[in-house]
């Protein structure tokens, strides 16, 4: 019906399954993600959200099923069949992974500038002043005072570290961003600032985002699509407002009715 429906998604999951011994991480998850879309994966802790995220981002190999990525617009490539150098190159250019705990995503022993510059240098940047200028620009984008450029992340607040992590990840202009509960543990105003930042980046750069969250308010404001997980399975998927306002599955209804008004 739509012309661009024939176009290629950026990320495709097909029956992604991860089994830990006799415990199910996630089971038979399938979806397509296109540029400019924000897909929120919601569900209670232990529902398999983070496991799924690891499988999607190539950090973990699924027990069954495939994850495809449209690298260099050459069509969908199975991550499992991708040589490691290419996978690692993707991870530091085309992809971003924003960890729940910024300490997992930052290099704590070097300055904010070096943190932002790392991906640039990994991709061949060899001009100090240019790297520094780019780092400064990104500090501004994530609203950290540029006077903090040479400070260690250790001296930053949790919210600043989280924003620094985002800057460090987005400096190479990735096309796909994975976020694991990014606003978790942040105070409300910092969370709002982060949401605004992500919203802007999605709008300005046509990013595709997979965000794991248990905060339905975050999901409503940020996501275009929602996937509800329970015990490793996807129980419902659809437009974010549809899933939140007219949930079909019993578990989605429970989830939506369990939170304060969002």
């Amino acid at each position: 019906m739509l012309h661009d429906d024939l176009s290629c998604p950026l990320l495709r999951a097909r029956s992604v399954t991860k089994i830990y011994g006799d415990h199910v991480g996630c089971l038979g998850v399938s979806f397509d993600l296109w540029p400019g879309e924000v897909l929120a994966i919601v569900g209670e802790s232990g529902s398999g959200k983070s496991t799924l995220l690891s499988c999607l981002s190539g950090a973990m190999e699924p027990s069954e099923g495939e994850v495809f990525y449209n690298a260099d617009a050459t069509g969908l490539t199975d991550l499992a069949g991708m040589p490691e150098p290419q996978l690692r190159a993707l991870a530091r250019t085309d992809w971003a992974f924003v960890h729940q705990n910024p300490r997992d995503g930052l290099r704590m022993s070097v300055s904010a500038g070096a943190n932002i510059g790392e991906r640039l240098m990994a991709n061949g940047a060899r001009h100090y002043s240019n790297i520094r200028t780019t780092a400064e620009t990104w500090l501004e984008k994530v609203e950290i005072d540029t006077s903090r450029l040479d400070d260690l992340p250790e001296t930053f607040s949790g919210g600043m570290q989280q924003r620094l992590q985002i800057a460090r990840n987005l400096v190479t202009g990735p096309r796909l961003v994975f976020m694991d509960e990014p606003p978790g543990g942040l105070d409300v105003s910092v969370q709002a600032r982060l949401l605004d930042l992500v919203r802007k980046l999605v709008a300005d750069h046509e990013l595709a985002v997979v965000i794991v969250t248990h905060d339905l308010a975050v999901a409503r404001l940020l996501a275009s699509r929602l996937m509800v997980m329970q015990a490793g399975r996807v129980v419902e998927t659809g437009l974010a407002d549809q899933v939140l306002d007219d949930p079909q599955a019993p578990y989605s209804q429970l989830l939506v009715s369990s939170v304060l008004q969002v």
Partner: protein, 234 residues
């Protein structure tokens, strides 16, 4: 030219799994057609499901059966069967919706919120902001508030920001849920004027107005939903 809104035989019920699977019928066999340049007012008693019908048209509620065709890019998309991605595309280019409540990310300035839908359509940011300023001015939002987030605005101000956002691009299809509620006479007049302008430009409009006087000004036809409802609040 086919009508931008064609609803045929739509049925909707809510199944409340939390309450032992109780089923609440909302609509049974609703059909309606709205042509370009036509503005239909939904009527019926309070709680009959007027807002629910708008949400069905917008895809926020999932119809159980029937078709809801919305004109989109020289074609039509059936919202009932379309994929989320298709619906998002329809919403971006063809389908505007002004709800009763403004839901925005805190901290985003009012001007950006109003201009955003137009930018998403690919308009140059300056052009979109220009249009947004125009609308905010006409809707009497003081200029010194444009740089602030509307989260802290009064109910009436938020409502007007919401309307400005919904009317900023010229959507071929517009859904308006009580756009004049909580507005004073002056602003109400402006909103009705803006709706009329949109209709004259060729938008197909479905709206809900509490006051008959407003319906008479802004709508060309009325549509009574009562015959199709299960009598349940939506």
């Amino acid at each position: 030219m086919t009508a931008p809104i064609r609803v045929s035989d739509v049925t909707k019920k809510f199944t409340l799994h939390m309450q032992g699977g109780v089923e609440l019928p909302v609509f049974d066999g609703v059909s309606m057609t709205v042509k370009a340049g036509q503005a239909i007012a939904l009527t019926g008693p309070s709680g009959a499901g007027k807002s629910s019908l708008l949400r069905l048209l917008y895809g926020t509620y999932k119809a159980d059966s029937g078709c809801i065709h919305i004109g989109h890019k020289d074609d039509a998309v059936d919202i009932v069967t379309a994929s989320p991605r298709q619906i998002l595309d329809v919403r971006r280019y063809s389908l505007g919706y002004v709800s009763q409540f403004l839901r925005v990310i805190p901290r985003v300035p009012t001007l950006e919120i109003v201009a955003e839908p137009m930018m998403q359509l690919g308009a140059a940011p300056e052009k979109a902001r220009h249009r947004a300023r125009e609308l905010l001015k006409r809707l009497r939002i003081p200029e010194n508030l444009w740089g602030l987030s509307p989260v802290t605005f009064s109910g009436g101000e938020q409502q007007r920001v919401n309307i400005a956002r919904g009317l900023c691009p010229d959507y071929p299809v517009l859904l308006l849920d009580e756009p004049t509620a909580s507005l004073d006479a002056e602003n109400r007049g402006t909103v009705l004027e803006l709706i009329n302008e949109a209709r004259e430009k060729g938008s197909a409009i479905v709206s809900i107005f509490h006051a008959k006087a407003d319906r008479d000004i802004a709508c060309t036809d009325e549509f009574d939903i009562q015959p199709f409802t299960g009598g349940v609040c939506g």
